[in-house]
């Protein structure tokens, strides 16, 4: 508890579009969450292996280098990382179905309903300043 208060939970945002990454990252920060950014799946994996586990991963599906599906596959194969919850943010028409297949905790169609997204983030990241008090 003390440790988490000192180092608040991080939301990992994975999206190849810089404008989306930055605007959504800023919004989450303004709401009081700590945010880490990754431009594709392999960057995200690198982050996960070098840092403390984030409270939630917001994952785009269509990305170069390593897409969201492959990232999720690798993540679930790794026992250290498998339990980190993932929510999908995508513009794909079949995003909902993909989210089910990838066992995501949520699916947000782009453009994202920000209030709903913030609700999910605060539910999974209660120990962030923006989250519900823990």
């Amino acid at each position: 508890m003390i440790e988490s208060a000192l180092t608040p939970d991080v939301v990992l945002l994975v999206d190849d579009h810089a404008d989306i990454r930055e605007s959504l990252g800023e919004l989450l920060q303004e709401e009081g969450f700590r945010v880490a950014l990754a431009a594709d799946g392999s960057e995200a994996l690198r982050y996960l292996r070098q840092n403390r586990a984030p409270c939630l991963i917001l994952l785009d599906l269509m990305m170069p280098v390593m897409n969201g599906y492959e990232f999720r596959l690798r993540q679930r194969e790794d026992p250290e990382l498998a339990r980190i919850p993932v929510a999908i943010i995508s513009g794909r028409e079949d995003a909902q179905q993909n989210a089910l297949e990838l066992q995501a905790v949520g699916c947000f169609m782009k453009p994202v309903d920000l209030d709903a997204l913030l609700g999910t983030v605060s539910a999974y990241c209660p120990c962030s300043p923006g989250g519900t008090p823990c």
């Binding site: 605007s23 513009g91 782009k110």
Partner: protein, 520 residues
Amino acid sequence: MTDLLRRQTPWEYDELELLAAAGERLSGSLEEADLLDRFHALAVPRLADGCRIDPPAADAAPADAPRSGSGLSLPLEVQDRRLATLVLHRSGGWTDREAGLAEELARRLARALFLARRDREAREEIAALRRREEELRQAHADELKRRDADFGRFVGTSPLGIIVVAARDCRHVVVNPALAELLRIAPDPERPMTSVSLEALPVRFARDGAPLAAAELPFCRAAALCEAVRNAELDVLREDGTTCTLFGHAVPVLNEEGGLKAVLAAFVDVTSRKQAEAALERADRNKDAFLAILGHELRTPLTAMVNALRLLRRRRGEDPAVRSACDLLDRQLAQCTRLVTDLQDISRIKRGRLALERSRADLAALARQALEVVRPEAERGGVALRASFPGEPVEAEVDPGRIEQVLTNLLGNAIKYTRPEGGVCLELERIGSEVRIVVQDSGIGMPPDLLAAAFDLYHQAEETLSRSQGGLGIGLALVRGIVEMHGGAVSVVSEGPDRGSAFTVTLPIAAPAGRREAGI
């Protein structure tokens, strides 16, 4: 007996014997020459030294011709018909008795000759009838042959490919030159039609890429079933690797007893039409795929803009001018998002990629939600919203999100085409095993010719007006697609321009089994 009674003096025995012999001999033949021979044998020399028969003279004297010395001329007459004249010679001249006997014999000869002549005439008549019958038979055969030749010429020169199957087993077929050319069969220079065994045809048949067995060929099926096979499509794979597609009908031709005489099938080459159709379908699929990609690509900038707007509102939202600008951007971004969603949805329905997530839902509650979604728009447009619901919930097995989308679309459409101070009314009622939802407006209405196409994709009521109102012309197509996926139906009525429109959606209460495809 009457002849015998005509004589005054009774017959002597030998005379009676001669008359009896004459009766017997002359009744034994129907040949004139033979009769004359027989008569000659009876009469000479028993009664006369010689006898002859003369043809009837035109001016022949009536009966009882004169006796002149040794000659006795006796007319041979029956029923007033003069057949000939019998001339007898007797060197010693004729006594009355002898002349009477000769006369009696002549009567018998006349009767026999008459019968022979009647017989000959009858035989001639029969022969003439036979000849006539034969002539008619020949004429009929000639006519049939001529008709066959005509039929051969018609079929032979027909621009339609024609195939004739003569028997139920369909082993042999006869093809006309047009079809022979399509099948690449070398024409027979002697005959217009080519007779060939089905196995020997230098082609293979297929349909939709799958090879067809002989029994599955439309003309063979028509022969086996003895019934018409219509609208048959047939792919032909030739030996040289080329292909063509035939389209046609096969009909049985019945004989007089109602049995199968032949099957006549006619085909046209629809290869180029099929290719054009396939190209069109490919283009349509490409367009749908393009729309899906477009939708996805548009969502990225929309997302960044929505996020940035939220940041702007957070940081400068207290400034009224910024807030007003943010409100406008919110509305326009929401509209953009709706258009993109509609595009993606119609593309998914057309590609069969939209699955319904059915659950038991209260349609009245869905309608109320839809009304709330469009209320701000109605208020901005000065359009009054009214609704009428039954007292109790109206539950049905539907995809609640999709039905709300249908109602939002219909209400939004009605508001869009209704001028300020007009009204839009939603009525929902349960009728038997269906729910009927009517969205009625007092808007610009539709001319009758546009009503039928109202639900067609990319159709818009009026180019200029709808452009000023925005829209892609897919909202109503989407409505129809979703409603039909639910096993329901949509319709629209309008009494004409400026008289409003009423859209009706009917949905079954229970989910229909196996209905997924929507006809857009």
